[in-house]
Symmetry: C2
Subunit: 368 residues, 2 copies
């Protein structure tokens, strides 16, 4: 049995292992420690909401290969505040209208898109055209078509595109991938994944024009992701059922939705998400001879694992955003593929559209 | 907040409360303590397998209103053993061929059918024709048609018919029903229910001709039941997905199956069952302001509850079979309806057939 991941080296090793075993992840090229050159890649944050303020900016203080090098915001007061707090030069502060001018700013290497979902394509494409690599928050966009446009734009500009799937970098999730791939408990049979919360009022997330959907797009996507990287396969069909007890609050998005996926190897996944109540935060996988689970499973920290043989050793938390950004920077510096490319975000969007269609039509939707 | 159930009186009170609030359960008539007459009703067990030997016979030692008064078995060696162990008179020992002769045995009031699923109708109808009340193990039979024949036969003979849904009598489940009905955490949103285990080889349960199906019919039925008595509603539609990784062992039954139910009030239930692995034993209900769960949830004992507000008080276990049999005896003595009548078993069979159809066709099946 392999040891659990206790330090950075083990962690990087396991990440590589897990990545190599996933069907949709390219091989890693030989590692040249880019940080040895001394330069950190400059990151510009697009959208200065809660996630940028409370998670990403603090994470940038902990990265080895990144530093905050610019901001894009539509709110002058925010621009002023961030400029002072982070000691940014005038020419690194942009509005959404001026962000193309980044093309002339060599301090910015990466643009991290943290705007509402339906603006991701616009900001990603602008960044790519300005010659920047793009890390885009999940969900990648609100439709597969817009995801494809983002992929095409980055390809045309010869820039890398990654999706902010932070849990691909969390050692607890990586340990679960290892347990599945190494068949520690035999063949997988079923996966259960659920994530949700009771949302407040007056948020852009409740506005379909900006969000593209409800809890599925926002947090259910983590459950969907988990079923894919734990099974290591792409689902072949989906059935779903949605409910809405508060059509005023949830006027054009789903309130809760449950879906079932079938994978080609025979694994079944049952997933749930909601915007109406708290308590949904679990990932469980059942194999022939035992099970493993994370509960809570999907937060920025505090993830707890368990195994049916009681052999789960607690894993120290990491700053998921710091590791995610450092990995992207290393991919750029070392010219190796990311394990969370745009194509990965596109796949989720296609599946989520099928989940909505299944719930709407009451039909099992084929994904092949 | 109501106190938890700590003693028999509280328990009976709560049972009555829960029953009265379930839509499919009739009102209870005024209670006349039949045991005061001094006579216990005689129970004949049909089928002397593991359940009769290890659960029901011991439970009969603990009942207040019942006693073992006869056996029906196809195995002479078992007949001999039971006759001696339980001090049964010669005329209370029957074979499947002679069980009609019970009509002449006034010591037998109730026939408890514990044979393989596909024999329930035959044995129930014989018992009813012999003038006996019938308690039949779950699942009631292997098709709605056979369930209906059983209901009709008991009605024609003016005998009561109940299904052995022991968890309707378990105080942990009754407490969950109370939490749901009294909306202690507000309106229900979702229910998750799962029960399964890794089955051995060479059992009648693996033979479709005798079982009528796989884990759904055997243990998934408890998860289905729970979603119905926790929601207090009848589902309106179902989607399902089944898997089979071992077509030799599970040659004509499902290995694992997951299903989703939609209830008219908007509650969604996601359920799973399996014959291929251990670890499925949970019931969870999520409401607007909190959740409650049982895990393990469905065993003969050891059920553990939990509430999101940490206010679950442990409930002392009971002998589910003893309470189930005593309740049936009291229903007979007091001429009041049982909360687990044949119609309840028929409803589950109809839903289970729809679950199989949904899994087979990939379509959401309407239940209305």
């Amino acid at each position: 049995m392999k040891p659990n991941l206790r330090n950075r080296r083990d962690f990087i090793k396991a990440t590589t292992l897990a990545a190599a075993s996933l069907p949709f992840i390219g091989a890693w090229s030989p590692v040249v420690r880019a940080a040895e050159s001394g330069r950190k890649l400059g990151v510009a944050l697009v959208g200065l909401g809660s996630l940028s303020t409370n998670q990403i900016a603090p994470a940038l203080q902990k990265t080895n290969y990144c530093k905050l090098a610019g901001i894009v915001t539509g709110t002058p007061a925010k621009a002023k505040k961030w400029k002072v707090r982070h000691n940014l030069p005038d020419n690194s502060v942009y509005s959404y209208e001026t962000m193309e001018q980044m093309a002339d700013n060599p301090d910015i290497d990466i643009v991290y898109v943290v705007t509402p979902n339906a603006l991701h394509a616009e900001h990603t494409i602008k960044a790519a055209k300005a010659g920047k690599h793009v890390l885009c928050e999940k969900p990648m966009e609100v439709s597969p078509e817009k995801c494809q446009q983002m992929i095409d734009a980055c390809k045309a500009a010869d820039r890398m595109l990654a999706v902010g799937y932070r849990l691909h970098f969390d050692p607890n999730h990586i340990e679960c991938i290892r347990l599945a791939r190494e068949k520690v408990f035999g063949n997988l049979n079923m996966i259960q994944a659920e994530y949700g919360f009771r949302i407040g009022q007056k948020q852009w997330r409740l506005d379909r024009a900006l969000s593209g959907g409800g809890p599925l797009m926002d947090v259910g996507i983590y459950a969907l992701q988990a079923t894919r990287y734990i099974s290591g396969e792409e689902p072949v069909s989906v059935s779903a059922v949605a409910t809405n007890s508060d059509p005023v609050k949830f006027k054009d998005i789903e309130e809760s939705i449950a879906w079932q996926l079938k994978f080609p190897g025979g694994v079944i996944a049952t997933c749930n998400t909601t915007y109406n109540f708290n308590g949904f935060d679990r990932l469980r996988a059942f194999a022939d001879r035992g099970w493993f689970e994370l509960a809570p499973a999907y937060g920025y920290g505090g993830i707890q694992g368990k195994r049916s043989d009681n052999k789960w050793t607690p894993i120290a938390g990491i700053d998921q955003f710091a590791v995610e950004m450092d990995d992207f920077a290393q991919c750029i510096l070392e010219k190796r593929p990311t394990k969370v490319p745009g194509e990965e975000g596109l796949r989720d969007l296609k599946i989520m559209m099928a989940i909505y269609e299944a719930a709407k039509t009451g039909k099992t939707i084929s994904l092949t």
